[in-house]
């Protein structure tokens, strides 16, 4: 089966992002960019399905300006077969991303679409679910295990109380959680090979989608700072402080 995997270019997870002093936006000058960690897990899962003989082709898609081709190449180096970039400005809302992905789904007809559960910039956790609704596909979100079982997909999901398993008709959408797999590192020969793999570029118009905006970011600000407190000498002093100063235990 054909697997479509979506990847997003985001600030590297090691970077501590700050609001600009004028509050207009976050300061992304000269920060390191990378593939969203959850998307990397999605690519790894797709590649493993191919290695297991379940998937026949893995297509990596990204929505964004030309720079996101770097993340598509990363996915290709990890084992995806070919790439698709849908050329837009860098900040596109999840609903529009989902519509563009729906357009790619219509073109490619994959049996499975794997996405990260959220991106670590906007922390929205929306795109996979929205794609599911638009394409009328079932979804296995926050997945920690994915098993293809004939024409069904069994997905074990991380939920509030523990784990839940659902059975989905194919085609289906899966969004990854942290413990689905541990992504591999791309080898140098594979990075070189990835440069030669096919990468098609579409415009939103090619996919019949109008890029709209529903939300405006009015301002950004740093969160309320927490002041470091004191170091206590020993357990006795800690218990005393909690009882008599903070009064949180009795």
């Amino acid at each position: 089966m054909k697997v479509l995997v979506a990847v997003k270019r985001v600030v590297d997870y090691n970077v501590k992002v700050r609001a600009k002093a004028d509050g207009s936006d976050v300061d992304l000058n000269n920060v390191k960019m990378a593939i969203n960690p959850f998307c990397e897990i999605a690519v790894e899962e797709a590649v493993r399905l191919k290695e297991a003989g379940t998937a026949t082709e893995v297509i990596a898609v990204s929505i964004g300006d030309k720079a996101c081709q770097e993340q598509i190449r990363t996915a290709l180096a990890l084992g995806a077969d070919r790439g698709i970039q849908v050329e837009t400005e860098s900040n596109v809302e999840p609903l529009v991303v989902a519509k563009l992905l729906k357009g790619v789904v219509d073109k490619e007809q994959p049996q499975l679409v794997i996405l990260g559960k959220q991106s670590i910039d906007g922390d929205n956790n929306q795109t996979g679910q929205m794609l599911g609704a638009l394409a009328n596909m079932p979804q296995g979100t926050f997945a920690s295990e994915v098993v293809v079982d004939g024409d069904k997909l069994n997905v074990t999901r991380e939920v509030d109380g523990g784990l839940q398993t659902v059975s989905l008709n194919l085609p289906a959408v899966v969004t990854t959680d942290l413990r689905l797999n541990e992504p591999r590192y791309a080898s140098l020969p594979n990075i070189m090979k990835a440069k030669k793999k096919q990468l098609d570029v579409y415009s939103p118009a090619d996919l019949g989608v109008e890029v709209t905006s529903h939300l405006t970011q009015v301002s950004v600000e740093p969160p309320a700072e927490r002041q470091a407190g004191i170091k206590v000498e020993d357990v006795d002093q800690l218990v005393d402080k909690l009882k008599n100063e903070a009064k949180v235990i009795s």
Partner: protein, 309 residues
């Protein structure tokens, strides 16, 4: 203005997260109704009707909604929600699963995990793991919103007398089914609503050592959590994870044991009222947010703490 709040429940009873969502909905200056979708969910509906300040409770009682499958529930919420200006849900695993489908069906944006209501169309929400707070304004006539429950007080669970109305709409998309679940059974309070939380990190060294937290948790009536490192290492199950992508908690007292304090963990607990850190590394970042830090070997400190509280 009218707002529909989506209830988080287990059919028999209403989950506390619903009460936080009701408070957020009331802050939008709207009349508030609650939708309870489930199967044999009369218990949850009655509890919802008792919540203070609620106009009416709509109950969709159908086998298709028993396990909150997003494919089915989203169709119901989109239909019932058509009559409302806002559709608001707590940011629980169930609602995070279903609500974006609702937004897409209605062709509107979702505003995820708001932490404050600035006006009828403007909200604050954390981005970049809580390192930045964004103020966003919605241009949509109908708004689909999830609420970070720790940012809003719980509405009073008693004192209301809402009417209960049955909703006939039966939506079974027929594309997904529930297979099973592994749910942790515990006598301790729920992690996200506990007054006291004690969490262990990589410093606990193994799952067996988490027992050292249990005695303290029992004495304090606390819930037990964990850092991502402890969950990834297999010490404890995923439902105990506190952090950016795990559970967000804000108890009166949070005790972090053997947790270094990665940004992703801090994002899940830094709104706690009082934070205690116990770590043998005095340079651990957790001490920068702790009200009381104890530099000590946890294997010495925990037994002593248990004996002295």
């Amino acid at each position: 203005m009218s707002t529909l709040v989506i209830a988080e429940h287990d059919n028999g009873s209403l989950k506390g997260a619903t009460l936080n969502a009701v408070t957020a909905a009331q802050a939008m200056g709207a009349d508030v109704d609650i939708l309870v979708a489930g199967a044999n969910c009369g218990g949850a509906a009655e509890a919802a009707a008792a919540v203070a300040g609620v106009g009416k409770v709509l109950v969709a009682d159908n086998a298709a909604y028993e396990h909150q499958l997003a494919e089915n529930v989203s169709l119901l919420i989109a239909e019932v929600g058509a009559a409302y200006d806002n559709i608001v849900a707590p940011a629980t695993a169930n609602c995070k699963n279903a609500m974006p489908r609702v937004a897409a069906l209605l062709d509107v944006a979702q505003i995820s995990e708001i932490t404050s209501v600035e006006s009828a169309d403007t909200f604050k929400r954390p981005i970049y793991a809580g390192n930045v707070i964004a103020t966003v304004q919605s241009a949509d006539a109908k708004k689909v919103i999830t609420v970070r429950t720790t940012a809003f007080d719980a509405a009073a669970a008693e004192g209301g007398s809402a009417s209960i109305e049955a909703v006939d709409a039966a939506h079974d998309a027929g594309i997904s089914s529930f297979v099973g679940e592994e749910v942790a059974v515990s006598d301790r309070p729920e992690l996200t609503s506990a007054d006291i939380v004690i969490s262990g990190g990589r410093g606990m060294q193994n799952g067996e050592n988490f027992k050292m937290l249990e005695g303290i948790a029992d004495k304090l009536g606390a819930a037990i959590g964990a850092s991502r490192a402890a969950v990834d290492a297999g010490f404890v199950p995923n439902d105990m994870q506190v952090g950016q992508t795990g559970k967000i908690v804000a108890p009166d007292l949070y005790i972090a044991v053997g947790i270094s304090g990665a940004i992703q963990h801090l994002a899940g607990m830094k709104d706690s009222k009082v934070i205690v850190a116990i770590n043998k590394d005095e340079d651990a970042p957790i001490f920068q947010v702790a009200d009381y830090g104890l530099v000590a070997d946890l294997f010495d400190a925990l037994p002593e703490l248990e004996s002295k509280i």
